[in-house]
Symmetry: none
Subunit: 83 residues, 4 copies
């Protein structure tokens, strides 16, 4: 792990790694920008950004996982008189 510390760093190799990451981050930020545009457009049609985001979030959760988690959770809620 500390190999690089004592070695000469392979300049070209490092440069390539850095530039690859920077290119990917650039692409990522372009997409983030695109997403913002979609929200802005939706908002101008009368949709609420916050609720659209809620829907997206909810759809992301895998249904099966949600049910499994719920089963155990219910048990605890009953024990706490919250259900």
């Amino acid at each position: 792990m500390n190999m690089m510390k004592n070695d000469v760093i392979a300049k070209e190799d490092l440069k390539q790694i850095i530039e690859r990451i920077e290119r990917l981050e650039e692409e990522k930020s372009i997409i983030a920008h695109d997403i913002k545009e979609v929200y802005a457009e939706a908002k101008s049609k009368g949709y609420e950004t916050a609720t659209l985001k809620d829907v997206i979030r909810l759809r992301k959760q895998d249904v099966h996982e949600r049910e499994e988690k719920q089963a155990m959770l219910d048990l605890y809620l009953v024990a706490l008189d919250m259900k």
Copy 2:
């Protein structure tokens, strides 16, 4: 805020918006994953992830901004006898 609540929501329109966002988010997360892979690969070659991130961060700031920030930090450090 409550306009949509009282209107009929244009189902197909909403669906398209949601799906467009989801597609873009999917692309974004693939790229995020690619970035992680580059770091992992770099690590396996002996580079330190934390330092690579430091470099990326430095390169993102432009030179002038970086100098300003450092100048301010130095000022504080001197005041605290840390420099």
Copy 3:
């Protein structure tokens, strides 16, 4: 906003600010440690950490707020045939 940059920094004042923050952060990390201990103790009695955390999270949500949010969300879900 850039006032401090051109002024001499009031050394004692800065020192006090820094030390106040450091003291608070120290307190915070002691409490974080205490929380970890409670979980560890609970775990040793047979409780699942993950589920305890779920319960804590759920109780944090204000019930009223949850219902309000749900009402609007339902509308969208119906529109999307998810409900």
Copy 4:
């Protein structure tokens, strides 16, 4: 993992655990809030939050560690002709 699922949960015991954690988390969040206030107050006096955080971070690292980190960073920067 599933032991608790098949047992009767000791209601009072569980309640106490949950409430103990909640009390500690409440304390923790009060302190977090206090810290924010200190930063806000400092900001209103003309200090820069970002720089204060830099100082705190530097003081947290011990000298040796800081030097090691900087040495590694310099190595990378030199290889990239950034220094």
